[in-house]
Symmetry: C3
Subunit: 147 residues, 3 copies
């Protein structure tokens, strides 16, 4: 058994606003690490997109989520001062603050311990497509005899 840290970075191309599932990519990083017991931290390196763990079965749940954030932080808010990059600039920062930049998921027997209906999603808050950097950091122990 060895204690180790394993990082893996990947890019997610987005097509404008919405949620994209990245659970598979996080699981791949975990498999590559050979870690059996530990924790997986997912981190997005941006201030205009974020992370959510969300219902992964019915797409209408995510459509309603998107619409809720459009209404909670509207693009046409008249008093926003920070709008250099357009009407979706300031809403993207606030929607990011209201969701998550990092999320930590337990790892047991080499598997992410997500519940049946949980998926990890990148939440893009900008209208334009972007390439988003995600970092997965795994900390834990490998199987006995492995390194």
């Amino acid at each position: 058994m060895a204690f180790l840290v394993h990082h893996e970075a990947f890019e997610i191309p987005t097509r404008g606003k919405g949620t994209l599932e990245i659970t598979g990519r996080v699981s791949q990083a975990l498999a590559a690490s050979k870690i059996e017991e530990g924790i997986a931290t997912v981190f997005v390196r941006h201030t205009s997109c974020s992370l959510v763990i969300m219902e992964n079965a019915d797409p209408t749940a995510r459509a309603d989520l998107h619409e809720f954030f459009e209404r909670l932080v509207p693009e046409d808010t008249p008093w926003f001062e920070h709008d250099a990059e357009g009407p979706d600039d300031m809403p993207s920062h606030i929607r990011m603050v209201l969701t998550r930049t990092s999320e930590t998921v337990p790892v047991r027997n080499g598997a992410l311990q997500l519940g049946t209906w949980q998926g990890i999603y990148l939440f893009e808050h900008r209208r334009a497509p972007h390439r988003r950097e995600v970092l997965v950091s795994l900390v834990g122990t490998t199987r006995h005899g492995e390194r």
Copy 2:
């Protein structure tokens, strides 16, 4: 001194909407792990309940918190499409996204480093009682000479 990972899973029966303190259960998991220095990650395996660290003294603070979320994400929102499980279905997902699925608390000298007024709470967003799975993952070092 040994570096180790210790997981502990437990179930919390809820009685419908509201917050239930789980600090004691997290502390028990920490004690069982024998970890003295490290971090404790608390994770809920659901998309219709969540975690909050909240004021643990005056119950009116939590009552106001519950009411705030009832009003911020109302059950009678007319444009929600995702309502297969009733009017509390979609609000429960959004309230979960606006709070937390994982929380990481420092561990020093074998104790959770919560502030005086901080308690860890499971936040049930469904009307009906549920059995909720919580996972506590401890990563760190035991005392010198212990294993």
Copy 3:
């Protein structure tokens, strides 16, 4: 190479409501730990201030963020019961719940892996100045040959 846990506590004096950058203090704690690869968890020990990772370039982005929270959780909300410490008492708890108490940032090559525009901020929600306790917990490995 050694696996280790390093904690560092510091106090941040606030001057009432607003966001204060603490990225430099977190980086100092990381440097003192000598950890090269791992994760850094930042934790605030309070229920009336919180953490956000926010845009660190244009101060108007943070001004708009402050104003958004003033409007989302107004001080003059008539139905709040928890007001023993004044009109900013209950809003401070709700604004804390809507943001973060802990945040975990990857560490590679001895550096926090924040994106270009990301800064770590303490978000004070009370009107009066306070001294706020922040705890940084570093878990990971040092360079080969170091301890």
